[in-house]
Point group: C2
């Protein structure tokens, strides 16, 4: 039984995997259950070492190995296009190794990259944006992952390290962080996130990139203080639909962005 389908590597965190699946459903034109696209979600949180901890040198195992092995397993099941539901996993020390491991096995899997898809999306739908504020975990921040947007003529705007650390805690703190509260943001975490978005706007950001899958749980509208909010997970979900059934992708702006 091989069903040509889409594959999502979740578990990084688990909620983020579901989030991308939900956005694939939300961005698909379908009037019945049966018209929705086929997909497989693998959520193996324990098997994949923490991305930020690896990038900081606190953990020796590169999560790339576990991720590549899950992707190859998906390919065996019929998956043709796949994605990683985690921004930090796209940092070159992880993502580039995944690509190499897939190539070593002669994989034909089309692995979407969240940064490239974001660059392509902005060029197509928001060509006026030159300064893009980045809200993310410290893993993504230190990896300077979104620096690659420069090749799309978009300058990423980052917080200073101490502000970034406060933002990271609003996501990761074991007491008040979004991750520890099953995706239900507590008031303190929300307030911190709004303050950090304000800082980026003061620094010239013309739009804000919600570059951590937990952030759209707090920023639920299409704009914040008049600046567009862009959700790379939703952009990635749209790229997945594009790969499998381009005629089924909703028009840009049909859903909240």
């Amino acid at each position: 039984m091989l069903i040509p389908s889409l594959g999502i590597i979740g578990g990084m965190g688990p909620q983020a995997g579901i989030d991308v699946c939900g956005k694939i459903i939300a961005e698909t034109v379908a009037q019945t259950d049966q018209e929705h696209l086929p997909f497989i979600l693998f959520s193996f949180p324990e098997s994949i070492s923490d991305r930020t901890a690896f990038l900081k040198g606190q953990v020796a195992t590169n999560p790339a190995h576990a991720i590549a092995s899950l992707l190859l397993k998906m390919e065996d099941l019929g998956v043709e296009a796949a994605c990683l539901a985690c921004n930090t996993a796209h940092a070159p020390p992880i993502f580039d190794i995944i690509i190499k491991l897939l190539q070593n096995k002669q994989s034909k899997l089309e692995l979407k990259n969240i940064v490239d898809e974001t660059g392509l999306y902005i060029k197509k739908y928001h060509p006026e944006i030159k300064q893009l504020g980045i809200l993310s975990t410290s893993g993504t921040y230190h990896s300077k992952l979104y620096n690659k947007l420069v090749s799309y003529k978009i300058n990423p705007v980052y917080l200073c390290p101490s502000e970034q650390e406060k933002l990271h805690q609003a996501i990761y703190s074991k007491e008040t962080g979004i991750k520890a509260n099953a995706g239900i943001p507590v008031e303190g975490a929300k307030k911190t996130l709004y303050k950090k978005a304000n800082s980026l706007i003061e620094m010239g950001a013309e739009a804000i990139l919600l570059a951590c899958t937990e952030l759209p749980l707090v920023f639920t509208e299409s704009c914040y203080m008049g600046k567009p909010l862009l959700d790379p997970s939703r952009i990635l979900a749209r790229a997945m639909i594009q790969a499998h059934a381009p005629s089924k992708i909703k028009p840009h702006g049909a859903t909240i962005f």
Copy 2:
């Protein structure tokens, strides 16, 4: 690579599959990504024929065959306990065939049943409930799926057919139904659902079962008019955690029920 894990058959509809996954995450005691449970979600909506249409005789193919084949594939991947994210798929003409097909292949998979888990849950946590009002789609209603609760000494209380049809429309109507409005219930639909819950209470219901995955979007508290609201999807999610890591299940009542 075999990772002992949980399996969810989604796609019936796709949102319901994600819903059960989200509830497994929400009901798990975990402070880091890595502490969450491993699971696989298969969402193949096109491969599984419509459950209600099959039960009504409008479609000849029993969805049991596609479901059993997906479950066996999951077992090959290491899945030990699985569930179906769909009330209607538990109707005996479908569910019993799935069990038979699994037995034919000497499957060791533990397939949870949403009705039995609901019965066991009520016996354990709400033993006082003898009359249980059932809010559901007409597919679940006509299958009389929850009649099996009688074996747990719980009497299901149903709406009359004309009231049931109005309830179904509040979920399915292409203008005002919950499904057509991206899960954001419009006032008219809400009002209908409250009226139907009132009817069940007038008929003697001591608690209300939200036996359709869209209903908890309207009934967001743990009680309605002083009667407990029970969500079978959440009960099923808890049964999955119980099967894999009983020590990680949140105490009863820690989340909204």
